[in-house]
């Protein structure tokens, strides 16, 4: 189909068929400019159609679940009637579980505060941005530092008897340490793990701890925040 004449502007015919972004590249440009961005596709319709399909499928799933699952509703709020245990929304139960171990100032303020600060500063804190392996250079020094951090953490958890955090920390440190001592290449998995940057280890540790704490807080805590088995 022919285009109307009036829409033609100063671009050449090539540009009509295949428009390119015209930018001035300076040193201060924030955009990541690479020489080769690979093959490109038009957002309209390729991206937009995909997004629309995702929206529709998501809605369908949500509606179907909402038809068969009922939102909980308990009795009228009664300040005189404390449920035992009183639980926060599930996404705060990890935090509530921490409160069980540590003094409130640590579990309630320090740790969540540090997590938020850590999340914010990650991009500005140039910890092997290049993605160099944890043990790539000066490996002994790094191993030493890593071990000190882990030992301090373990002592901290040990003092407060936070055994549930103790265990994943130990496991993570073990796995991370083992990658260093693995003979030779250690297989594909070992190689993969050895190539992980420090931030990767920290984040993975955080995720596992968060999931375990949330899970324990949700399903393993009964009256007086005592340990109960969910199937009993």
């Amino acid at each position: 189909m022919d285009e109307k004449k009036k829409t033609e502007t100063g671009f050449g015919s090539d540009a009509l068929k295949d428009p390119r972004r015209i930018v001035f590249i300076t040193k201060k440009t924030s955009a990541k400019v690479k020489g080769d961005v690979g093959r490109q596709a038009m957002s309209y319709p390729k991206l937009i159609l995909r997004e629309a399909i995702v929206l529709e499928i998501l809605t369908i799933l949500m509606v179907v679940v909402a038809l068969f699952w009922d939102a909980p509703l308990e009795q009228l709020a009664n300040p005189l009637l404390t449920p035992n245990p009183a639980k926060a929304p599930w996404y705060f139960l990890g935090l509530q579980e921490l409160l069980h171990y540590f003094p409130p100032i640590v579990a309630g303020v320090l740790i969540p505060g540090l997590v938020i600060v850590a999340l914010i500063v990650i991009p500005y804190f140039h910890v092997n941005v290049e993605g160099a392996p944890l043990w790539a250079n000066s490996s002994l020094r790094r191993l030493g530092m890593f071990s000190v951090v882990v030992v301090v953490l373990l002592i901290f958890f040990g003092i407060y008897q936070a055994w549930t955090i103790f265990i994943p920390t130990l496991v993570m440190a073990g796995v991370a340490g083992t990658t260093y001592f693995l003979p030779g290449q250690g297989g594909r998995f070992g190689t993969y793990l050895r190539a992980r940057p420090l931030s990767w280890w920290i984040m993975t540790w955080f995720i596992i701890v968060a999931i375990i704490l949330t899970e324990i807080g949700t399903h393993f805590r009964g009256p007086g925040w005592s340990w109960v088995w969910p199937w009993r």
Binding site: K17, D18, R39, Q40, A41, M42, P45, K46, L49, R50, A52, I53, E56, I57, T59, I60, V63, V64, A66, L67, P72, L73, E74, Q75, L81, P83
Partner: protein, 703 residues
């Protein structure tokens, strides 16, 4: 990238988009289905189908529509949607049991459902339109439907005093008082005749340490074949519960109690001449037994009697059972007690009889030698005299176990707030209850039942002792407990509460003293206060002739020889008898009865003959009343009516019996004035000499 290629590649994408869009629209379109398939709509449709099978379809469907029905009473804060499914509740033709639920009509009750809503009585959740939500304990509503068995509890929320329609509730409330529940738990109990458990300040005079040990250990041990609890010397006496005490505790407590002799024992000496005269006689106990029976002690006290191999308790339950009393009490104490029960503790409910020393000696010998059980204390360990350490420990136990809550004792104050507050236990939600490891359904009713039947079932450290109650008494107690709710917060409810009217009849003066001394109110009613064992005396002055009352007081047993429960022989003096008679005549008058009628002139032999004819033929009164040797047992024996009742009373009675004695069995009939005159004239001719009295009534006097 060439446009054609892109178009080709996105064809698959477009297809996927098309399919997901179709599903998307379809799913959104069916999302209202959840609403459409709501269970209540199915009940609605089922009712319409059901109504079409009934002959009165038109009336059944008069108010039918497809939406939610609700009863809305703003002033009571009632929003009940129960009628959405229970659509037939106001249709009289759907009353019988063949109508399937939820369409059956409500049985006819004094309160119409549409004026009160459903949840006010049945509890549950009136807002809900789902079956489980409305009826059961769910997370969203902690108050499940009250089982119909306990529905009387809801009557009790407003009706604070007893009403005849709720026997189970009334029984439960009586038990809360009788079993001393209110001594440990805070609760609202309406005023009733209540006799506190015995004061123990002087128990050391009364019973031995061994007996106390045994009693504390197992106040009751055996269940007979009917499930009645037989106690160590007492039957059907559930007041003293069983505490969970170990041997050391039993020793300490019995040591403490057996040393309680705060005041010297009252007069317990018997004239030594009488003792000397009777001591050696072999039949002293037999004579005592005869005297015991003649005085009708069994009207209040039961004694086990073995006849033809069958042991049976004979006697009333106003006082304790006496079968094994001789193994319990000291003889000195017994004599002092019989002489003047109130000298042992002031509120003792046993009347003070006019005993002669001779009778006293005989009866006490009978009690101490015949009413005994040598095996009773055989399993009690040997105990040395109490040590101060034991006594001290026993004193602490006495407070710690809550004994002081029920039993008064000098020098110890009852602890306040000993048991949990039960004044609003009926409003307790499931989440407020601790079920422990008990394997019972988590509802308030099951909790209460479990707790009453075995206090440690839900809480192993419970301080509450073990009561042994019959199943129906447990149900009655649960009903009474459930009736104690937080006052519904709607102001209109507060106005609806029918408060209990405290009634206490306490006459003054000389009669008042006699009334207290002989405890008349334990058996007789006076102006709505008192026991129900004997006739209501509220209008006795209008009813009985003075001479008859005097002769009855002097010699009660001659008038109703067939009845087991008979007025005891109080041995009134002449002065006492005339005080009582004068008081009854002066004060206990009915406004319905003319005190000074002048109808003697109207009596004539013809009238009497007419009355006799009416009595025997037209109204056939003999079906219920006895004259001479023939007639029924329902009403009182009329053989001596002429010397017993006043003619004005008889006339008023025949006009309207219920006006004189509310609730009396005799129906009100439509006699003409002439018939009343004739019947009165006939009845007044019925007189007999005391010696010829024979047949009696079974149904308790003039009721």
């Amino acid at each position: 990238m060439p446009a054609e290629e892109m178009g080709k590649a996105s064809r698959k994408l477009r297809l996927a988009f098309a399919i997901s869009s179709v599903v998307f629209v379809a799913v959104l379109a069916i999302s209202p289905l959840k609403d459409y398939f709501a269970p209540w709509r199915q009940y609605k449709r089922a009712y319409a189908r059901f109504a079409n099978t009934r002959p009165d379809t038109k009336r059944l469907l008069a108010d039918y529509h497809s939406g939610i029905d609700q009863i809305w009473i703003p002033e009571l804060k009632v929003v009940d949607r129960c009628t959405t499914c229970h659509q037939g509740i106001t249709q009289p033709s759907l009353m019988d049991a063949s109508v399937p639920q939820p369409f059956r009509a409500h049985p006819s009750i004094p309160h119409h459902a549409l004026d009160w809503g459903c949840v006010v009585c049945h509890r549950g959740q009136g807002l809900a339109t789902e079956v489980r939500e409305a009826h059961e304990t769910t997370l969203g509503w902690e108050q499940p439907l009250l089982p119909t068995h306990f529905i009387q509890a809801s009557c009790g929320v407003c009706h604070q005093s007893d009403i005849p329609e709720t026997p189970q509730l009334n029984r439960g409330r009586q038990l809360l008082v009788d079993l001393n529940c209110f001594r440990c738990h805070r609760m609202n109990v309406s005023e009733r005749i209540y006799v506190p458990p015995p004061d123990l300040s002087n128990i050391g005079h009364k019973a031995s340490r061994e007996w106390i040990y045994k009693w504390l250990k197992e106040p009751r041990t055996i269940l007979d074949s009917d499930g009645n609890v037989v106690t160590n010397g007492y039957a059907n006496e559930p007041r003293m519960p069983q505490f969970r005490l170990n041997d050391a505790e039993l020793r300490d407590l019995s040591a403490f109690l057996s040393t309680r002799q705060n005041e010297p024992l009252g007069s317990h000496q018997i004239d030594p001449r009488i003792v000397a005269a009777w001591q050696k006689k072999p039949d002293v106990a037999d004579q005592g037994e005869t005297r015991f029976r003649q005085m009708f002690c069994t009207t209040c006290h039961a004694v086990a009697v073995t006849r033809a191999g069958q042991t049976q308790l004979i006697g009333g339950n106003i006082g304790p059972e006496l079968t094994k009393i001789g193994s319990k009490v000291n003889e000195d104490w017994l004599i002092a007690w019989l002489r003047n029960p109130q000298s042992y503790f002031g509120y003792a409910q046993m009347p003070r009889y006019q005993w002669s020393d001779e009778d006293l000696y005989k009866v006490s010998r009978y009690i101490m030698t015949r009413l005994t059980d040598s095996d009773l204390l055989s399993d009690v360990p040997k105990m040395d005299p109490p040590t101060p350490a034991e006594i001290q420990a026993g004193k602490q136990l006495f407070v710690g176990k809550g004994c002081a809550n029920c039993h008064g004792i000098q020098g110890i104050k009852a602890p306040k707030e000993f048991g949990p507050d039960l004044s609003a236990v009926g409003s307790k939600t499931v989440s407020e209850l601790m079920f422990g490891d008990a394997k019972i359904p988590h509802t308030l009713v099951d909790y209460l039942r479990s707790k009453i039947e075995n206090p440690t079932s839900v809480n192993t450290t419970a301080a509450m002792p073990q009561y042994h109650l019959k199943k129906e008494d447990v149900s009655a107690l649960i009903t009474a407990l459930l009736s104690m709710t937080r006052r519904p917060d709607a102001p209109a409810f507060a106005k609806l509460v029918v408060r209990a009217t405290p009634s206490k009849f306490q006459p003054a003066g000389q009669f008042g003293e006699l009334y207290d001394r002989y405890k008349c109110y334990l058996c007789h009613q006076f102006n709505g206060y008192g026991g129900t064992l004997a006739p209501d005396l509220s209008f006795e002055g209008s009813r009985a002739q003075k001479a008859w009352v005097v002769s009855f007081l002097k010699n009660p047993q001659t008038l109703r020889p067939a009845s087991t429960f008979r007025m005891p022989q109080f041995n009134f003096t002449d002065a006492e008898a005339s005080t009582i008679t004068d008081y009854l005549e002066m004060v206990m008058q009915s406004p319905q009865v003319n005190p000074n009628p002048d109808n003697s002139s109207k009596t004539s032999p013809e009238l009497v003959a007419l009355g006799k004819q009416l009595y025997e033929v037209k109204y056939q009164c003999q079906s219920c009343h006895t004259i001479g040797a023939t007639g029924g047992y329902v009403g009182p024996n009329l053989s001596n009516l002429g010397s017993w009742m006043r003619p004005a009373w008889i006339a008023a009675w025949l006009k309207n019996p219920q006006a004189l004695v509310p609730g009396t069995i005799e129906p009100r009939r439509e006699f003409t004035d002439q018939e009343i005159q004739a019947l009165s004239a006939f009845l007044m001719t019925l007189k007999q000499t005391p010696t010829s009295a024979k047949a009696g009534s079974a149904a308790g006097g003039s009721r």
